[in-house]
């Protein structure tokens, strides 16, 4: 798989000073002991991020990671940057303040499916709507880990957990659909176990100016082990035939094809428009219909097709899911615009104390001798 990347210099990092010293992953490794469970997918993401940040070449002190509460939200402690491990669900709001206050910071949010989509759902959609220059890494393990195994807002209906002994009743969120519904300007999905794809998506997210939502399928070996096995090729006996038939790779400008190779030696399945529903569907590709396979356009200003693609994700046990960058469009960012208003207004200010004195006096005063 390959994800598309933008050319350097990344607009997403405009204003953030770069380091003249070469960096390596050790520079980004804090002195804190990592305390996730053995086999947790979070380790893979941490390794990918620590491996990827040196490549950006930013001044380390100009990077800020903000997280909420949950297993994934311990992430900032393990990175030797500035960081805040905040409170449940509020990281996008807090990060909005950080990003708006300072143009020279690269601001990242680390969150999970419970943190971002349940208790913090409101902040997530509003950060995306505003298009604040934040990179949001949403670790989706489809379970509550830190509270020991209750169902999450991305768990499948019928999930048997400690709090749902007869099966959960809630329809899950599809985080990509939700983000697209909020008109996020960058929406992608990747998988913890695919280091290369994960890194490429992170790179594209960093390059993007505006809110970038990256859903990372992340395995919880303790409370929801195997949730993404179909995508990793391990459970091909469960209705699929390995990762090739489960992952629908989205690459801008490429026909959307996947699955074991067909007659033409190319992946045997493809995504076509469905004139009946207005959505998209998966078909077996043949010589007759090969031309109708949808060519992925991540830059389409209308998010409708991206949304349709997001619906190819299974809501129940995961057998099939598109992975890659669903959407990447240019849109004014909140923080740039907010700073511009302040900058424009400040042009009229010569001396703050004189201006303050004038403000306090206003237009209607009288004097007493």
């Amino acid at each position: 798989m390959t994800a598309e990347t933008s050319d350097l210099p990344f607009p997403g990092l405009r204003g953030v000073p770069t380091s003249e010293e070469p960096q390596n992953r050790k520079d980004y490794t804090s002195d804190q002991e990592v305390r996730w469970c053995p086999g947790c997918g979070d380790y893979a993401v941490l390794a990918a991020v620590q491996g990827f940040l040196p490549e950006l070449g930013l001044k380390r002190e100009n990077i800020v990671f903000v997280s909420g509460i949950g297993c994934s939200s311990r992430f900032p402690y393990y990175l030797d940057t500035y960081g805040m491990h905040s409170i449940h669900g509020r990281a996008p709001a807090i990060a909005t303040g950080v990003a708006t206050a300072r143009e020279d910071l690269s601001v990242w949010v680390v969150t999970g499916d419970g943190d971002a989509l349940s208790i913090g759902g409101n902040h997530l959609i509003h950060a995306l709507r505003r298009n604040v220059n934040l990179k949001i890494l949403l670790f989706n393990n489809r379970i509550y880990g830190l509270t020991k195994g209750q169902y999450s807002p991305t768990s499948e209906v019928g999930k048997v957990t400690k709090s749902t002994p007869m099966g959960s009743l809630d329809q899950p969120f599809n985080p990509v659909s939700l983000a697209l519904g909020a008109e996020a300007s960058f929406v992608a999905r990747t998988v913890d176990s695919d280091r290369k794809h994960l890194t490429e998506v992170l790179r594209a997210a960093a390059a993007h100016r505006g809110s970038a939502l990256v859903e990372i399928y992340q395995n919880c070996p303790i409370f929801n082990d195997g949730a993404f096995d179909a995508l990793k090729g391990a459970k091909s006996d469960q209705g699929g035939s390995g990762a090739a038939n489960a992952i629908i790779p989205l690459v801008h400008g490429e026909p959307i094809r996947f699955g074991t190779p067909g007659e033409d030696g190319l992946p045997g399945k493809g995504v076509v428009r469905d004139p009946q529903t207005g959505g998209v569907r998966v078909v077996e590709v043949s010589a007759d219909n090969a031309d109708s396979v949808l060519v992925h356009d991540a830059h389409a200003s209308d998010p409708t097709t991206a949304f349709a693609l997001s619906r190819l994700t299974d809501a129940g046990y995961l057998h099939q899911a598109p992975v890659g960058i669903f959407r990447q469009v240019d849109r004014t960012t909140y923080d740039d615009a907010a700073r511009e208003q302040v900058r424009l207004a400040a042009e009229t200010l010569d001396d703050p104390r004189t201006a303050l004195d004038q403000l306090l006096h206003g237009s209607d005063t009288w004097s007493v001798d």
């Binding site: 804090s30 804190q32 001044k59 380390r60 002190e61 100009n62 990077i63 800020v64 997280s67 509460i69 900032p76 402690y77 030797d80 940057t81 500035y82 960081g83 805040m84 491990h85 905040s86 409170i87 509020r90 709001a93 807090i94 990060a95 909005t96 303040g97 950080v98 990003a99 708006t100 206050a101 300072r102 910071l105 409101n122 902040h123 509003h126 907010a338 700073r339 208003q341 302040v342 424009l344 207004a345 400040a346 042009e347 009229t348 200010l349 703050p352 104390r353 201006a355 303050l356 004195d357 403000l359 306090l360 006096h361 206003g362 209607d364 005063t365 009288w366 004097s367 007493v368 001798d369």
Partner: protein, 620 residues
């Protein structure tokens, strides 16, 4: 033109009352501005329903504005109006009970129809000759509406549009009665309605017609004069609490050199601070209207982490939502100003009415031991200095600070002697820098004097660190579950807030003879009524002392000793005894409360009675 008698008065209380849509707030505001520029001392009390347009002509829809002005310094908007201007039957009925016998009532008779009388709950017309409802008052029934319509005929407006200017007619009449200057109002109307010349001219014409009506009609035989008050030298303006508070925050930004970041969600009666600060971006003020109260304070705290001064503005229900983030600010020890413009509670309560019932929420409304300094302004103009003080404490001590205003202070106004900027404290953010002795940077080390931790902002090389809501190890700030460390950190956070007391000036004890046995201890907006009540008691020849607290947490260091000096301590509050609870617990003083929770400021006369009773007890 008849020659009118001019009568001298030392003080007058006027209340304008009408339907929510009648423009009574604007009328009162204009009268206030005229009065301010004339040089009287004044104090105002707007009072309006939470509904934007409650059903027309009904009692819940009545909106009023009371202004008290005098030739001497005054402290409150007054207990009872001398003059009521009632624009409809509901306004008359809703306000009549507050009038003392002999008060003047000016009534617009246009709406005294059967239907509107019924809406106001009148079975019979109180203006009818056989009615006794108004027997105790000097009543001036005037068809203000009809006269307004007549006076603006030339502008070709519909009757409905024409009659809308009746508030300006009433203002003109009252302006004549009390010899108010008119240029300001004419100028105001010309600016306000510059884009709609018909409406502009109609309002100016109605205003002038009201003035001429007073001058020519025989119905009003007396014109009153209230001479300018003697006030300390200086330049003055009239100002509301919310405006003064906004300016205080801007000033705090200028004095500290920090950009202000306001994260806020609209809520009555605090929204005007958001509106006001939004106008002052040129001072480096960023305002974010967040998706909710929690996001408002979250963004503010994030901005503080990044090196701005985070501010959030709200009222009690919003504080409830923000409490978890205030706890995070306590734990992360970052500067943050939380403005609570208190209103009637609990829950949604009385959004447009005043109350002081959030003191204990400010003090204790968080999980765990989460001490937060509390600062309270005592009058509308004092909101300025209180805000500057809140900024000083937040930045110096790296802590969230609660600034407790209230609905009365927010919307009430008074003359303000504009301070010289040199009188304001300067605040040094003192951002952390790399230790020059090569030692390790410790984000949770302490300043010896203030116990504040270093404020190390992103972008500072070598100071990369992580903070958060989990307990911090002393010094390093790393996560720590160590029992002894937790105990130490809980005590350290408490001690840091207690240290603020060392920076406070001694309390001012107002006890002229030093002979008083009763002390009245207050905080916040009760300052005016307490001061007025104390004057009444002293005029009656009795001794009483007064102390008013600006700092509710920590208490000033001399408070305990002062309380011990008096036989009795009376604590008047617009709650059921929250400060009283705190001082009783802290100082083992048998303080008694004077408590009123009716959404309105305490009346000075009621409080004076309570003080007298207590004085009598001490002399028995």
């Amino acid at each position: 033109m008849t020659t009118k008698q001019v009568k001298q008065l030392d003080r007058v209380i006027i209340r304008f009352a009408g339907d929510s849509g009648d423009g009574m707030q604007l009328t009162g505001d204009r009268f206030t501005q005229e009065t301010a520029s004339f040089g009287n001392d004044l104090s105002t009390l707007p009072n309006f329903p939470a509904e934007i347009r409650a059903p027309q002509g009904t009692l819940p829809g009545v909106s009023s504005f009371q202004v008290h002005f005098a030739d001497h310094d005054i402290l409150t908007p007054g207990d009872a109006p001398d003059v009521l201007v009632a624009m409809n039957p509901a306004a008359l009925r809703a306000n009549l009970g507050d009038l003392p016998k002999g008060a003047t009532v000016i009534v617009d008779t246009a709406d005294f129809t059967k239907r509107n009388l019924a809406k106001a709950g009148y079975d019979a017309d109180p203006l009818a000759e056989d009615s006794t409802v108004l027997a105790d008052y000097h009543v001036h029934p005037v068809d203000l509406t009809q006269m307004t319509v007549e006076s603006v005929k030339e502008f070709g407006l519909s009757r409905k549009d024409a009659s809308r200017a009746k508030n300006m007619f009433a203002l003109g009449l009252l302006s004549w009665m009390y010899g108010r200057p008119t240029e300001g109002t004419v100028g105001f109307l010309q600016r306000r309605f510059a884009k709609v010349p018909d409406i502009r001219d109609a309002n100016v014409a109605a205003f002038k017609a009201g003035w001429f009506f007073g001058e020519t009609t025989e119905a009003f035989a007396v014109q009153y004069e209230v001479k300018p008050a003697v006030m300390p030298a200086g330049t003055y303006r009239n100002i509301t609490g919310n405006l003064a508070l906004s300016y205080g925050l801007v000033a705090g930004g200028v004095q500290s050199g920090l950009p202000i970041f306001l994260g806020s969600y609209p809520i009555t009666p605090a929204s005007d601070i958001l509106h006001e600060l939004s106008k002052h971006k040129r001072f480096g003020v960023t305002t974010l209207q967040a998706e909710d109260e929690i996001a408002g304070i979250g963004a503010a705290l994030g901005a503080s982490f990044a090196g701005s001064l985070g501010v959030t503005t709200t009222s009690g229900p919003g504080v409830a939502l923000k409490s978890e983030t205030i706890g995070l600010a306590v734990m992360t020890e970052l500067p943050l100003v939380v403005v609570d413009v208190q209103r009637g509670g609990p829950s949604t309560g009385l959004p447009t009415k005043t109350e002081q019932a959030d003191l204990l929420q400010a003090m204790f409304g968080r999980n765990g031991e989460a001490p937060v300094p509390i600062v309270a302004p005592q009058s509308p103009s004092d909101c300025f200095e209180a805000a500057v003080e809140a900024v000083r404490i937040a930045v110096t001590y790296r802590t969230p600070v609660m600034l407790l205003s209230d609905g009365y202070l927010a919307n009430g106004s008074e003359p303000w002697r504009i301070p010289d900027l040199d009188e304001l404290p300067t605040v040094d953010p003192a951002f952390a820098t790399v230790p020059d002795d090569g030692s390790e940077f410790l984000p949770y080390s302490r300043d010896e004097e203030t116990l504040a931790r270093p404020w190390a902002i992103p972008g500072t090389p070598g100071l990369e660190h992580r903070i958060g809501g989990l307990e911090k190890a002393d010094g390093s700030g790393n996560i720590s579950y160590d029992p002894a460390n937790h105990d130490l950190m809980v005590r350290t956070r408490a001690a840091k807030v207690e240290r603020i007391a060392a920076s406070l000036p001694p309390l001012e004890v107002d006890d002229p003879s030093g002979e008083a046995k009763v002390l009245v201890l207050g905080w916040g907006s009760t300052f005016g009524p307490i001061g007025a009540a104390i004057r009444q008691v002293r005029r009656a020849g009795h001794e009483v002392a007064q102390v008013h607290l600006r700092h509710l947490n920590p208490f000033p260091r001399d408070l305990g000793e002062i309380l011990q000096r008096y036989d009795r301590v009376l604590v008047p509050e617009m709650n059921l005894g929250q400060l009283a609870l705190l001082v009783r617990a802290r100082y083992l003083v048998d303080a008694v409360g004077f408590n009123q929770v009716n959404g309105m400021p305490i009346k000075a006369a009621d409080l004076a009675d309570a003080i007298m009773n207590l004085i009598e007890e001490t002399t028995r």
